[in-house]
């Protein structure tokens, strides 16, 4: 009985976990490549969901086209923000960088409020509403589709980073900027790639979750902090760690909601964040890092 309840929670956790994994991945990208914690990640996620609403509901485009257009637009927005603001704040204290990303988050959330209004939007069901029952477990089909697409995107992104020439160049730039530049990597392109893909991945997360969530302009911050918690769980800056952390957080959250309390669900997530920061700041997956003097 307990095992079947537990496995039910784990399965429900995987769908939301795959979304957290996408956001965590976008955090890890900017941290690993440029040591920037980009606090507007949840806003890119929110814009992704609104992009889906605009393209699919208001303009009547097919869903696959909505995904492509929204992702590209949000990625372009990420790159534009990088060129206008972050490039100039690069060398300054990390506080300024952190605060400027917070400023971005405020501006984006309220800009979205101006365009789409403060009310919640309900996206139509685009995935089938079938429910599979396998050995006492109920699995909604839309959850399967969401996890499937999220995992597909992550695998594709990993293949790009680890198997292609460009991916290798970008990874080299993340490790050692000067040497990578000497080897012929265009740093400006690499930086824009990092910001653009990080914003785009967040937007895909929002697009995928749109059908099962009420979307308002103010959902950004909670997903920012949860995505960040996921990234910390797996080890900030690690690609595999982000994915692992995302799924782990989704599962933990579901188990907590079910077994402990749903009102204190978010509080427990934040407690986990603080505890991991204190006890194992390098994340659950990574080996201990030694601080250099």
């Amino acid at each position: 009985m307990i095992t079947s309840l537990l496995s039910q929670q784990i399965i429900s956790g995987i769908a939301i976990g795959s979304i957290y994994a996408l956001i965590a991945l976008s955090f890890s990208l900017t941290v690993r490549a440029l040591n920037v914690i980009h606090f507007a990640q949840g806003e890119f996620f929110m814009l992704g969901a609104f992009g889906a609403i605009s393209c699919y509901m208001l303009l009547g485009l097919p869903f696959w086209l909505a995904i492509i257009i929204t992702t590209l637009v949000v990625a372009a927005l990420g790159i534009a923000l990088q060129w206008v603001f972050y490039n100039k704040l690069w060398k300054s204290h990390h506080v300024f960088l952190l605060m400027s990303t917070q400023g971005t988050a405020i501006a984006l959330a309220n800009g979205a409020m101006l365009i789409w209004g403060p009310d919640a939007w309900r996206f139509p069901k685009i995935f089938s509403e079938n429910v599979y029952k396998i050995g006492g477990l109920t699995i909604p089909e839309e959850m399967l589709w969401i996890s499937f697409f999220a995992i597909l995107i992550m695998i594709g992104f990993n293949i790009f980073l680890y198997q292609t020439k460009y991916g290798m160049g970008f990874r080299a730039a993340a490790q050692d900027r000067e040497t990578a530049q000497l080897m012929g990597v265009n740093l400006a392109v690499a930086d824009s790639f990092v910001f653009g893909s990080s914003a785009g991945l967040g937007a895909i997360g929002g697009l995928l979750i749109a059908p099962i969530l009420f979307i308002t302009p103010y959902i950004g911050p909670i997903f920012t902090i949860k995505g960040f918690t996921a990234a910390i769980l797996g080890g900030l800056g690690s690609i595999q760690g982000a994915i692992f952390g995302g799924f782990l957080l989704g599962i933990i959250e579901n188990i907590v909601t079910f077994w402990i309390s749903s009102t204190y669900k978010d509080a427990i997530v934040f407690l986990i964040l603080i505890l991991v920061l204190l006890i194992k700041p390098s994340g659950l997956l990574q080996k201990k890092t030694i601080e250099k003097v």
Binding site: F96, L98, M99, Q102, G103, A105, I106, T263, I274, L278
Partner: protein, 326 residues
């Protein structure tokens, strides 16, 4: 001598200021500026002088406000004991939270404080029989000291002015004392400071506790002035506003909190005219300020002062016939 005159002028201006404005609204803005000066001082101690970026100061502000609200409505204690209890609670919370989290470096401490602020807000929202849940606590009495009721904005202004003056005095003495130098040493190079025999962890925790005490006192005043506390007054966004006050006013400058509080409160009020655009403008303004004004208003004032005295010195030297000071 000259300094004394300018101080006297400042004191007169501050005392006459509320009498110049008749509308309750303007007087309310003056009071909010004073509360934000207190909060600015509290953030400047921990961020400006220790260098720990805190995005959770609103949690301590909220702890102070809720402590005062609960004690005054449930136990019926008067104003001063309430402020004292809030201060003790703020101090305790600072120690409890600071001892583990201040080991974290740079942005990690900031993130831990964001998590903390969210946890405190969720507790305010859900611990219903103590905090009243989403409705909050209303019917907090006006502040009164020795039978004197502070029930109008103008009376409250003078109460706040005296309190801010006392806190500012303590703060100024603290940062210009030996301990202030220790704090700056810890901020600028923690490793070198610990090599000089400074217990950096202890310094950080003590300064955080002082800063949270001040934030909690500001919270107690806030509760008694507005007569009402609710959980939506203390979100992370409010902590960011406190930080903006300091970055705009000048982090690590003595007068930074004052410049910052004046500008941010007035800016916030003016932005209300833009209705739904106000937060958008606010966000963009933050980024523009960070780009073009990284050392804040106090930084500009310092530069201007240095230039002014430089010039005067050269004039003086010219008068006495020395010219090679260029």
């Amino acid at each position: 001598m000259k300094k004394n005159i300018s101080l006297a002028i400042l004191a007169i201006v501050l005392l006459v200021l509320p009498l110049l404005f008749q509308s309750r609204y303007t007087q309310h803005i003056l009071n909010m500026i004073l509360i934000y000066v207190m909060l600015g001082i509290s953030v400047n101690l921990i961020f400006g002088y220790i260098g720990a970026l805190t995005l959770g100061q609103a949690a301590f502000f909220g702890i102070g406000a809720y402590t005062a609200a609960i004690i005054s409505t449930k136990l019926g204690l008067s104003f001063l004991p309430c402020v004292l209890c809030s201060a003790v609670m703020g101090c305790l919370a600072g120690f409890i939270i600071g001892i583990p989290t201040l080991r974290l470096k740079g942005p990690y401490f900031a993130i831990a404080t964001i998590g903390l602020n969210n946890i405190i807000c969720i507790i305010f929202l859900n611990w219903e029989h103590l905090t009243g849940g989403a409705v909050g606590i209303s019917g907090i009495p006006y502040a009164s000291i020795l039978g004197l009721q502070f029930d109008t904005e103008r009376k409250v202004y003078f109460l706040l002015l005296v309190s801010v003056f006392l806190i500012f005095l303590l703060y100024r003495n603290m940062i210009s004392s030996h301990y202030g130098k220790v704090m700056i040493a810890v901020r600028d190079n923690e490793l070198a400071a610990s090599a000089m025999g400074i217990d950096t962890a202890k310094v950080k925790v003590i300064v955080l506790a002082i800063s949270t005490t001040i934030a909690a006192i500001a919270g107690a005043y806030y509760a008694h002035i507005t007569n009402y506390v609710a959980p939506d007054a203390f979100p992370v966004m409010e902590s960011i506003t406190f930080l903006i006050i300091i970055v705009l006013g000048g982090a690590g400058f003595k007068y930074g909190p004052i410049y910052g509080a004046v500008v941010v409160v007035i800016l916030n009020e003016y932005l209300q005219y833009f209705e739904q655009f106000n937060m958008l403008i606010y966000g963009v303004l933050i980024m523009i300020l960070l780009l073009f004004l990284p050392s804040g208003i106090a930084g500009i004032v310092e530069i201007a002062k240095a230039k002014y005295y430089e010039k005067k010195k050269i004039y003086y030297l010219k008068e006495v016939g020395i010219d090679e000071m260029k």
